[in-house]
């Protein structure tokens, strides 16, 4: 890995390049799940406080994204999916990504503490540390369980949203965390099944490389079972209800069917139809998470009218 910064090059990024360092697509997922966590929580925040809380949680996620791009710029340059990012494409320097990441980390934690409470700010600080240091710097290149560890960092936003509104962690917040946590590994392992050359080229110890593709298919099945059990179980807590239960049952039936088909297939079958089942699992899993959190939001919004919840 190249740790030396190239000072000989003149970088002149446009403002959009700094935005790209914050991984706006990941931020949009963070905004949505943190907002749902905050809305589903029993505590009531003023709309301005709630807006600030979600904004600074998203900014914290963006900061950790920038730190991730700073550290991973060498492998980003190799992988087809990431080589157009600002650093490998030569639009910004590694120093700029590091500076932006550190500055926004401090700002987001401080402002979340002031806008909501210091308990939520502590969770945000831990999330940034976990994603940037534990996942990106320490474990991503060391263990095939890297996706599982990275998934934990991505699962914190709804919990932080909940804590911002209530000041405490409860079973509902933990279950929302667990749902995203269990959803992440099969989502990325199916991507690894049909984007295999990318991870191989970057020499990342993905499960597909270290344990083989058959083992990855078994892991996808196992995680799909756990994910489905959690998703349906969430329906019977205070944030669940009939709407959520209906959506959870439909979505998890589809996920279980797709995971089962992936588990049964061998490589020859998968290659013959260009990984059709794997691709459909991956595409559906994006909607899967969105629909679950949308259902939690619907339950929360309908509750005052006597329609949401049990």
């Amino acid at each position: 890995m190249a740790y030396v910064t190239d000072h000989s090059k003149d970088y002149d990024p446009v403002f959009g390049d700094y935005i790209a360092l914050l991984k706006p697509r990941v931020m949009s997922l963070v905004v949505f799940t943190a907002f749902v966590g905050l809305m589903a929580a029993p505590g009531a925040l003023h709309p301005i406080e709630a807006f600030c809380a979600v904004l600074f949680i998203a900014l914290g996620a963006g900061a950790s994204g920038s730190l991730n791009m700073w550290w991973d710029s060498d492998i980003d340059a190799i992988m087809h999916r990431t080589k157009t990012r600002p650093i490998p494409s030569g639009r910004t320097s590694r120093d700029a990504a590091l500076g932006l990441g550190v500055a926004l980390s401090g700002l987001s934690v401080l402002m979340l503490g002031l806008a909501s409470n210091w308990h939520a700010a502590g969770w945000l600080a831990f999330t940034i540390f976990f994603y940037a240091v534990v996942y990106t710097i320490w474990l991503k290149r060391m263990t095939p369980q890297n996706i599982v560890i990275g998934g934990a960092a991505g699962a914190f936003p709804p919990l932080i949203g909940w804590v911002a509104a209530t000041g405490v962690v409860s079973i509902e917040a933990v279950l929302m965390f667990a749902l995203v946590f269990m959803w992440t590994p099969p989502h990325f392992w199916t991507l690894a099944l049909f984007m295999r050359s990318d991870y191989d080229d970057a020499k990342l110890p993905m499960l597909t490389v270290t344990h083989g593709r058959k083992s990855t298919r078994r892991h996808i099945m196992a995680y799909a079972v756990l994910q489905s059990a959690l998703a349906v179980g969430l329906a019977f807590t205070s944030i669940g209800g009939l709407i959520y239960l209906t959506i959870a049952l439909i979505c998890n039936s589809i996920v279980m069917r797709n995971a089962f088909l992936i588990w049964l297939r061998n490589e020859a079958e998968a290659e013959s139809d260009d990984f059709k089942n794997e691709r459909s699992f991956f595409k559906f899993s994006i909607f899967y998470l969105f629909l679950h959190f949308l259902a939690i939001l619907a339950e929360a919004l309908l509750l005052p009218y006597g329609l949401g919840g049990w």
């Binding site: 002149d12 446009v14 403002f15 301005i48 600030c52 904004l55």
Partner: protein, 62 residues
């Protein structure tokens, strides 16, 4: 007469400066709104200004 040649570098730097300016303005507006909400929702504020504090006076009367 001043020579004005606009190059790519000017366009890029203007984009950066404009973006940072917008962010700072939005941040100031947000801080003002947040401060207003925090102050109006936190109840009466008692400053120490060498004058008897109403809450302490009440206790003395009791």
């Amino acid at each position: 007469m001043a020579i004005r040649v606009e190059s790519e570098i000017h366009r890029r730097r203007r984009s950066q400066n404009f973006g940072v300016a917008i962010c700072l303005i939005l941040f100031i507006i947000l801080m003002m709104a947040l401060s207003f909400v925090k102050l109006t929702n936190s109840g009466p504020v008692e400053g120490y200004d060498h004058a008897p504090r109403p809450s302490l006076e009440e206790k003395v009367l009791e």
